[in-house]
């Protein structure tokens, strides 16, 4: 793990090196070397006037030395067919001004020709400066798996000719959407678990994107959304247990993040930004008010559902509808959604059924949510709810027995799918 000082430089330095060297893997090795050299020298000789320039120049010169060495080594066998342009003779120095090419790097890493999990990992590695090991821990996969995922992605970028460029206008909206989706996915991954601080990482990347694309409203809206959600981080868990919003200790909310998130959101709305992240940020903002304006929240979710057509958004709309029109109406909305494998679909349904006193059905739904839950606090929360709903009277048991039988019957009677 790099020092925080270095972490801020990593993406900048790496992006320029990718441009200069034409290959991410080579750029990464060179950057690594330069950072090691800096860690040795800077404390001894003092920090250079232009640290970024120093790191880039050092990394580039070392990479070129290495390419030359390898070339001589391979001359006899003629194996190396390196596509690099012949490096200019003069040595770059730290006074050279290098343009910031992080945006090109972001668009390369989030190219839709790469699998989404590869986009996410690569963005964290190249722009976030996280180590392969940290990313593996963040996503709960073995180191080997993550390492392979990263090198496959880097090789595909090189071999398939994925451009190192900001997409042309006619592709920009669609590609920017992919970038935002990657950042938001990193944020959400960090929110549930707290294994590696991926949420802060996503916010850091979000800030960089806003800085790089100051005229686009959606990056700013996404940053606002992440800040407003992250502001409740300290209050979301008490002794390791999940605390629902209404029960949260509001004095634990991060006022600075809320203020920043709101300022960003105001700016987005003032500039007529009405994209999906702007709406979500506005909803996140409303959730921080007490009492919550469910009418307004329902409206915003309806707008978001129209914009995205996403059934996941409908689940959230149903939660708001439960507050304005009652759980019954919400349940009707939910039951039309094709989300059998989505854990919040089942936990939301379970909660509505519980509120309607339909305990047996609620138990089944909580059970289903439990099998899909991905973090321990979530699991414990659902187990707690199941425990509260355990059958207590003879009538409860009777009901449980009937509903279990019904379910078994359904399973037995179901036509076998895809029978050979």
């Amino acid at each position: 793990m790099l020092d925080d000082v270095f972490r801020d430089e990593w993406g900048r330095v790496l992006a320029t090196l990718v441009r200069l060297l034409g290959d991410i893997e080579l750029a990464e090795d060179a950057a690594q070397e330069a950072f090691v050299a800096a860690a040795e020298r800077w404390p001894r000789d003092g920090e250079p006037v232009n640290p970024t320039g120093w790191l880039i120049a050092t990394a580039r010169n070392r990479a070129i030395d290495r390419i030359r060495r390898e070339r001589t080594l391979n001359e006899k066998t003629r194996q190396l067919n390196w596509a690099m342009v012949e490096p200019p003779e003069e040595t770059m120095n730290e006074a050279t001004i290098f343009p910031d090419e992080r945006l090109e790097l972001i668009f390369t890493c989030c190219h839709p020709a790469l699998a989404l999990d590869a986009q996410v990992a690569l963005t964290l590695r190249t722009l976030g400066g996280l180590s392969t090991e940290e990313i593996a821990r963040g996503f709960l996969v073995p180191f080997e798996t993550m390492s392979k995922r990263l090198s496959r992605a880097k090789h595909k970028i090189r071999d398939a000719g994925i451009p190192f460029a900001i997409p042309p206008d006619h592709l920009l909206t669609e590609r920017l959407e992919a970038v935002l989706a990657v950042l938001y996915m990193i944020f959400n991954e960090g929110w549930g678990g707290g294994r590696v601080d991926l949420a802060s990482e996503a916010i850091r990347l979000g800030r960089a994107l806003v800085e790089l694309m100051p005229d686009e409203s959606e990056p700013r809206a996404l940053l606002a959304l992440m800040l407003l959600n992250d502001s409740r981080r300290e209050a979301r868990f008490r002794n390791g247990e999940l605390v629902l919003l209404d029960d949260q200790d509001r004095s634990l909310w991060n006022k600075q993040q809320i203020a920043e998130g709101r300022a960003l959101l105001e700016r987005v709305l003032a500039l007529q930004g009405g994209g999906a992240y702007a709406i979500q940020a506005a909803i996140a903002d409303l959730h921080l008010e007490q009492p919550r304006d469910w009418q307004e929240i329902t409206l915003l979710y309806s707008a978001l559902a129209r914009l995205t057509g996403s059934p996941v958004v409908e689940v959230n709309r149903a939660i708001a509808v439960a507050e304005t029109d009652g759980p019954e109406a919400a349940l009707e909305l939910l039951d039309e959604l094709p989300l059998n494998d989505y854990r919040y679909f089942h936990s939301t349904r379970a909660d509505l059924l519980r509120r309607l006193g339909r305990n047996a059905e609620a138990r089944v739904a909580y059970g289903r949510a439990l099998t899909l839950a991905s973090t321990d606090p979530e699991r414990r929360f659902l187990e707690g709810r199941l425990l509260e709903l355990r059958p207590q009277t003879a009538a409860d048991w009777e009901e449980l027995w009937t509903s279990t039988l019904d379910e078994l019957k359904q399973i037995v009677e179901r036509e076998p799918e895809d029978a050979p």
Binding site: N81, A113, A160, G161, I162, P163, L171
Partner: protein, 115 residues
Amino acid sequence: MKYALLVYGCTAARDALSEDDRRRVDADIALLLARSNVSGWVRLQPVESATTVRHEDGRTLLTDGPFVDSKEYLGGLIMVEAANLDEAIAAAGDFQATLARHAGAIEVRPVLAAE
């Protein structure tokens, strides 16, 4: 860079084409293949004409049919010149739009440069 566009079709969709449709598709394909970014192409006879050759225990084994037996078949291969993957994808998109009635999908594969 050179890219190969591997054009796949679905047998069901192909069989559903009328004689007229087929002629129209052929004309569309001819136009596409005449484009300046196309550097070469191969169109294949129906997949039913394929023979697969394997080598096992020193013997050559023949099977009637393609290597991968599925509802999709490889219909042809088009070589295009493109500056990068985005350009190649755009070219594939044009082909796909024209061949939609015929082709299931197009696989874009960068071509290994000759040593």
